[in-house]
Amino acid sequence: MSSLATQREAVIAFTETRHSSLLKEPLVTTGELLFKPPSTLERRVTAPFEERYIIEGDQVTIERPGAGDPRTLSLGSQPLLANLVETIRALLRGDLRALDRLYRIELAGTRDNWALTLLPSDPAMVEFVATVRVTGHAGMLEEMEVIEPSGDRTVTRFEHAHEASR
């Protein structure tokens, strides 16, 4: 997994599918993930609605066109969001030690075709997330699946087509 370690800026397209027992059909959103090492992360949703989460250090700014001024939150007041953000950042940095602080980690597969099973240890996260499964090819993050205690799951597929190069 250390081969993930991209110390470069990256733009990664994603497609996220939320499977929930509250919904008649899965909810699909698409967008991009922009990562500036070590800790600036932007999650931009482009369809079916527009929304931007800009994370810099401990600050999250949420922008929604037509919904008034952007909202800024401290990650410290949002433990679940903080943990999810840290998970993505750690995965993009290939920082296994950072993941180890948040989860019990089970690693499977080969270097070319790996799979991580992450079991949350922080009580603030256990309440909302049962398991996180991450798979990838060599240095590429491929898919992340967040499974909630209710059985709802959210599958995010990453496409590295327009990775920025320097």
Partner: protein, 773 residues
């Protein structure tokens, strides 16, 4: 018989006072009881908040010295114990379970509390927009958070309710508790049952926190600090008490040794103690009879003022001629001693007229105490003293001729008195801008380090000190809440114009019953809501029948009784309501604190434009400054009245305006010079200095009176000089000890009196024109 009568009268008086002390006297440590009684409504509010506002009952706690996980465990254990300990109404440490309770309570009442509830929100279009928004939130990383409540709350009413709060700075959560990540410490907040002014109860609550902390910590390296107004009050009371005991011991020992050296008789030394003790006893008894409670500060300052009385027996004993019975000495010096006593009594009378309880108590205390000490010196001490003729003079007395010669030549220094007077007046005029201390905070004995610690904790806990606020009065809580709700547009305009960054209001946490009823009326009935919801969900992927709990909750909210303060008890919202909406003297007051005020005039002019006497714009700092100023100005005016009264008594007693002037001039010059020296040393003068200077006035006039006394012969003149020098030395020793105190209040009194007494001695000696009988 002539000896028995005064002693019997004295003992009877002491017995009566003792009975009053035991049966009636109640001493309060409530600082605010010392503050003005009849002031403006704004100051009345300020004082009542200082006395018993929630802020005065809040203790901020920080725990550090271990890793975050350990600190979190300590914080949890401590909070759990404090919640069940009985001292506290509310303990918060960010704990999940507590925050959960907050959420449950708010969730249960969301349709009555949420400002977003109105008729438009429950139309088909309104519902559709809200559901669409909720769906988007469900698809976001925050989705898991709203999932559990989505079927009950599809319009996101809880989020609408919490949104204004989320924007406020709140402590970071880690391991389920509040932490200050920058300083690596866990934070807690506890509100005591006991009012802030009840220092004994506050001390007990703080001791309970200490004890529980020591019990729950797993490692002695873990440390705890507490802060808050009541913590400061308890700490400074303890420091002052310890200082006073220690310094009284030092001063008492020093004065006793000096008097022993002067008189070589223990009985004569004991007389000094007797007159002061009698003065203090009668002083306390008089204040107990005149007022409901005696303030601790009255006792402290009053004892210092009665300190003048320690000089009376000195004047008596030092004037005793060889072979003269003490009773004869007393009769001989009585005209001068009586005048010394009466000048102080009339000087104190002016203070007694004060509308400020504190000053009036001080005046009464000093009046009764000095009168008693004077009478004890005149009648009781000679009756108690041995009738044996005087023995040879003590070694210190042998130095008297040299002293006398020195003072005899002092007259050539007479010009320094007017020069000093004019120079001092010039300095005071030049320094007048920075002469006075107006900041109440600078009068408190709290150290700068403690103030910084408090500011750090406050900002970490997101509980900043409020300086400006709008206060609204009403006959009932409901009336106040309705008025505050009507102020909302004005407050929002101030935010929009940038005059203030934000405001808070109790109506935000607890809307008026009228508003809650209006919200209930805006909710459609069950059938209608079901019909509208069915159409609003068209095109959205929510499962059929998902929102049945929502329909049930809305139906319940329509029929629910209005939310009352008790419904919010033991939640952060309840704390906010309690601190911002208070029951006061039969009426109610609500506070809307303003933060980030860039234009301090905006709230004042906006409130003035309303023309509603029930609404006040308050600047707490300005109010407390003006209160300190008014207090001090009145003290100063009364002190001037006192000076005039003393001058009048002197003119009548000495039957000569010129001689009265001769007594007053050196003392006033000494007081002016003392004030000027303090000003040059960058000491800002406060009420403490004025009270200290009043004492200087009292003892200085005595010095001048004895220096100017009509004497029979040169031996008598020598004895007068000697008595003044001994009296002066006792004052310098006693107040010199206070001047070494680490407590600012005691130090200020000590320095002022030492300086003033020394200058009074020098100036009165230089200006003296002793008459001859």
């Amino acid at each position: 018989m002539r000896r028995v009568a005064p002693i019997a009268a004295w003992l009877a008086c002491l017995a009566a006072c003792g009975w009053i002390l035991i049966s009636r006297t109640s001493v309060t440590a409530d600082l605010t009881a010392f503050l003005p009684r009849a002031a403006t409504p704004a100051q009345e509010l300020l004082v009542s908040q200082l006395r018993d506002g929630v802020a005065s009952r809040l203790i901020l706690i920080a725990v550090d010295g271990a890793d975050v996980a350990t600190l979190a465990a300590t914080s949890q254990a401590l909070a759990t114990r404090l919640r069940t300990g009985g001292h506290f109404t509310y303990v918060a440490n960010g704990t999940g379970t507590l925050a959960k309770r907050d959420r449950e309570v708010l969730f249960a009442h969301r349709y009555l509390l949420s400002p977003a509830v109105n008729a438009a929100r429950f139309t088909e279009e309104g519902l559709h927009a809200a559901l669409k928004r909720t769906l988007e939130l469900f698809a976001s990383p925050l989705g898991p958070l709203i999932r559990p409540t989505l079927p009950r709350d599809p319009t996101g009413e809880l989020a609408a309710l919490l949104a204004p709060q989320a924007r406020r700075s709140q402590p970071t959560l880690s391991h389920g508790v509040w932490v200050d990540t920058r300083r690596g410490r866990a934070l807690l907040m506890a509100e005591t049952h006991a009012p802030g002014y009840d220092l004994d109860a506050q001390a007990a609550a703080q001791a309970a926190i200490e004890a529980e902390f020591v019990e729950v910590r797993t490692d002695p390296a873990i440390r705890m600090v507490m802060s808050g107004p009541s913590v400061f009050a308890v700490e400074s009371r303890a420091t002052i008490r310890a200082d006073i005991w220690r310094l009284t011991l030092v001063a008492g020992l020093g004065v006793t040794l000096l008097l022993l050296a002067a008189y070589r008789r223990i009985s004569l030394v004991a007389f000094g103690l007797l007159s002061v003790a009698s003065g203090i006893t009668v002083g306390i008894a008089a204040v107990s009879l005149g007022f409901d409670v005696v303030h601790g500060i009255t006792l402290g300052f009053g004892a210092a003022l009665v300190g003048e009385a320690v000089d009376y027996p000195t004047f008596l004993v030092a004037h005793r001629a060889a072979g003269e019975p003490l009773a004869a000495t007393a009769a001989r010096i009585w005209p001068t001693l009586r005048l010394a006593m009466l000048t102080t009594v009339f000087g104190s009378l002016a203070m007694l007229l004060s509308s400020f309880v504190g000053l009036a108590q001080l005046g009464l205390f000093s009046l009764a105490g000095v009168l008693t000490a004077g009478l004890v010196t005149r009648y009781v001490i000679p009756a108690l003293a041995s009738t044996r003729p005087n023995h040879r003079m003590a070694p210190l007395a042998r130095a008297a001729p040299a002293l006398g010669a020195l003072c005899g030549r002092a007259r050539i220094f007479a010009p320094i008195v007017p020069v000093a007077f004019v120079a001092a007046a010039g300095v005071i005029a030049l320094e007048r801008a920075t002469l006075w201390e107006n900041d109440l905070a600078n009068l408190s004995p709290i150290s700068d380090a403690a103030k910084r610690r408090d500011e750090e904790l406050r900002s970490a806990l997101g509980a900043p000190d409020v300086r400006q606020l709008i206060a609204v009065r009403g006959k009932s809580a409901e009336e106040v809440l309705q008025r505050l709700e009507r102020l909302e547009p004005m407050l929002r305009r101030m935010v929009d114009s940038g005059a203030i960054r934000a405001y808070d209001s109790p109506a935000r946490y607890l809307p008026s019953v009228a508003t809650q009823r209006a919200r209930q009326a805006a909710l459609p009935d069950a059938d209608e809501l079901a019909r509208r919801l069915a159409r609003a969900t068209q095109g959205l992927p929510f499962r059929e029948g998902l929102f049945k709990p929502f329909l049930e909750d809305v139906a319940r909210a329509r029929a629910a009784p209005p939310v009352r303060p008790s419904d919010l008890a033991e939640t952060a919202w309840g704390l906010a309501v309690r601190s911002l909406l208070v029951d006061q003297d039969g009426g109610w007051v609500g506070f809307a604190p303003l933060s980030g005020v860039t234009d301090p005039n905006a709230p004042v002019s906006a409130v003035a434009a309303l023309g509603d006497p029930a609404v006040l714009a308050l600047d707490l700092k300005a109010e407390s400054d003006s209160m300190v100023r008014t207090y001090r100005e009145q003290a100063l005016t009364l002190a001037f009245l006192g000076v005039i009264a003393i001058a009048a008594v002197l003119a009548l007693g000495l039957r000569s305006l010129r001689r009265a002037t001769d007594v007053m001039i050196p003392v006033l010059a000494a007081i002016a010079a003392t004030a000027a020296i303090l000003a040059l040393a960058d000491v800002r003068l406060s009420l403490l200095h004025i009270v200290s200077l009043l004492l200087v006035l009292g003892i200085g006039v005595n010095y001048a009176l004895f220096f100017n006394r009509a004497v029979a012969d040169s031996a008598d003149r020598l004895r007068s000089t000697y008595s003044v020098v001994v009296a002066n030395l006792t004052t310098l020793i006693a107040f010199g000890a206070l001047a070494t105190s680490g407590t600012a209040i005691l130090q200020a009194i000590g320095q002022t009196v030492v300086l003033g007494a020394a200058l009074s001695l020098v100036f009165s000696a230089a200006w003296a024109r002793p008459g001859v009988e």
